[in-house]
């Protein structure tokens, strides 16, 4: 390994010596760009190591162990540190948010890119980009005052369920709203970059512009739309404030959309302050953080593999 690096480096230096003028600048530039790339991978590794180190205590102790991942009982007063509730909560909340945001966001992007009157396009994009800049606490406050009461007094009764509105559904909705701007703008960019000649090929076969957008443009824009979903997955798993405020934070695994839930970010935020002086408790919270990071990394990798597969079957690069 280090042998390899040594060889690469001396190869690079040889190339640099023999290159001249602009070629030398190009080589230096490429080497320069390598540094931030390496640095950011190093940061991920460092953080993983740090989280592993901090959570080692709970994973090694008889009260904890690897079993905490599937154990749903969290009661620090009695030294019970099962974190399954939070894993399930985050997982469901993320899937729900993505399930709402992706279809809506893609519909929005399709409208913007393919059907929106030219004059409205700019202003609408600007508003959507501004939505991305709203702090999550503001979304949280709004959801707490508007969305949860609406779920509690309108939606739940309509389904014949009793709920105060603080629920998995509220978390999913507010997360979805927060993800929408990214999905819409990134997908819109992807749709816009589909070459005109592909659209024309479809129109020239007698397709309407709706058929063209749905069957050709969407397929061709798939890598970009996929990238939007990847970005959103990461954000959805890690989002804290807004979700904390509307999901009710009850120590249970939700069985319906109207049940309250407790997500990983919320338990860390809520309890880290008290836990700091209790080594096991504190370590358990770091274990939650470790699982959170691994979950968002694996979501990202899975989504990327899926996109790569999709691109390969379509012959896209």
């Amino acid at each position: 390994m280090s042998q390899q690096i040594k060889e690469d480096l001396s190869q690079f230096i040889r190339e640099l010596r023999s290159a001249k003028g602009s070629a030398r600048i190009d080589l230096l530039g490429r080497f320069g760009l390598l540094i931030p790339a390496l640095a950011s991978s190093a940061v991920i590794v460092l953080i993983l190591t740090f989280l592993w180190y901090e959570s080692a205590l709970i994973f090694a102790s008889p009260e904890g162990g690897m079993g905490i991942i599937v154990n749903p009982t969290w009661n620090p007063n009695r030294d019970l540190y099962g974190i399954a509730i939070f894993i399930a909560g985050s997982f469901m909340c993320t899937i729900l948010a993505i399930g709402i945001a992706v279809p809506l966001g893609m519909a929005g992007a399709l409208f913007l890119s393919e059907f929106c009157p030219h004059r409205l396009r700019g202003p609408i994009r600007m508003v959507i980009e501004m939505m991305a800049a709203i702090p999550s606490i503001v979304y949280g406050l709004w959801a707490y005052l508007v969305v949860t009461p609406w779920i509690g007094s309108v939606l739940a009764p309509a389904f014949g369920v009793e709920s105060n509105g603080l629920s998995l559904l509220a978390g999913g909705i507010i997360l979805a709203i927060m993800l929408l701007p990214t999905i819409v703008t990134v997908s819109d960019d992807a749709l816009q970059s589909v070459p005109r000649t592909l659209r024309e090929a479809s129109l020239a076969l007698g397709a309407t512009s709706t058929e063209t957008a749905r069957k050709v443009v969407m397929g061709a824009a798939m890598p970009g739309i996929g990238a939007a979903v990847v970005l959103s997955l990461g954000r959805a798993v890690g989002e804290t404030m807004a979700v904390l405020m509307v999901t009710g934070n009850a120590l249970q695994i939700p069985f319906s959309l109207f049940d309250p839930t407790y997500v990983m970010t919320s338990i860390i935020t809520n309890q880290l302050g008290y836990a700091f002086v209790f080594p096991l408790w504190r370590s358990a919270l770091f274990a939650v953080a470790l699982v959170l990071l691994l979950m968002s990394i694996s979501f990202t990798i899975m989504a990327k593999l899926f996109i790569r597969w999709g691109m390969k079957t379509r012959g896209l690069r």
Binding site: T197, A201, S202, L205, G206, G219
Partner: protein, 253 residues
């Protein structure tokens, strides 16, 4: 319905914004013939072709006057069905533009749009279209492969097959070989002579020799004017306009 020509263009003028591109053009295209449209770049060849399937309508600043009759009916009439028109007037573009889908899906895209659902029927049609485009032997074992992985020449023949799959009596080709290597170009040229037996073909080309080889009649456009329109043989022997002569002898263009 009886008509004199497959397509007849009457006094066609077109504009992009304020700029007049085609100037009072009148010409006609007969059944089972190949017409070559020649002229220097920017003279309006593509614009003329795209007026025949109303593809220019998709460009906001486009305006036109005059008439284009397809089998005797004005395609620009208010009650004319543009989607049906485009089914009947197929188009092949300058650069191969296969959809990012499998070879088979590329071919069945059009027929499915127009309501064909039966799988066997679609498979059969895909085979027939690929055979007509002289591509079947090369792709029959890889129908599920992504079309963009084919070579440039194969992609262009796939685009021809895709256009043929909706059974258009007229085929427009906008410099169909200009982005291809000479061998692929030769294959497509051969194919065009073959397709003439069934279709009315209107082909833009920048290559005079090619126009002389494959076309029955030829049109020469210069700065948006139709300078010459006659049997190819006659133009090749004795062009009636100096500008045509300058173009075919390579002095302009």
């Amino acid at each position: 319905m009886s008509y004199d020509y497959k397509i007849e263009v009457r006094d066609l003028s077109t504009w992009f914004g304020k700029k007049k591109i085609l100037k009072e053009i009148s010409c006609y295209f007969e059944d089972n013939s190949v017409t070559a449209v020649m002229g220097p770049s920017g003279c309006g060849k593509s614009t003329l072709l795209r007026s025949l399937n109303r593809l220019n309508d998709t460009i906001g600043s486009f305006r036109m006057s005059g008439e284009v009759l397809l089998e005797g009916e004005n395609i620009y009439a208010p009650d004319s069905d543009v989607y049906d028109l485009r089914r009947r007037v197929g188009m092949v573009f300058q650069r191969p533009n296969p959809f990012p889908m499998s070879v088979r899906d590329n071919i069945t895209y059009g027929p499915k749009l127009h309501g064909m659902k039966d799988i066997d029927e679609l498979d059969n049609l895909a085979e027939q279209s690929l055979k007509k485009a002289a591509l079947w032997d090369e792709v029959k074992d890889s129908l599920e492969d992504p079309a963009p992985n084919l070579s440039g020449g194969q992609q262009q023949r796939l685009c021809i097959a895709r256009a043929l799959a909706v059974d258009p009596p007229v085929l427009l080709m906008d410099e169909p070989v200009s982005s291809l290597d000479p061998i692929s170009a030769g294959k497509i040229e051969e194919l065009i002579t073959e397709l003439k037996k069934e279709y009315t073909i209107i082909m833009v080309t920048h290559n005079v020799q090619q126009a002389f080889r494959v076309s029955d009649q030829a049109a020469f456009l210069y700065l948006g004017e139709l300078v010459e329109f006659d049997k190819t043989k006659r133009i090749a022997e004795a062009p009636s306009d100096d500008r045509t002569e300058a173009f075919i002898t390579g002095r302009i263009g």
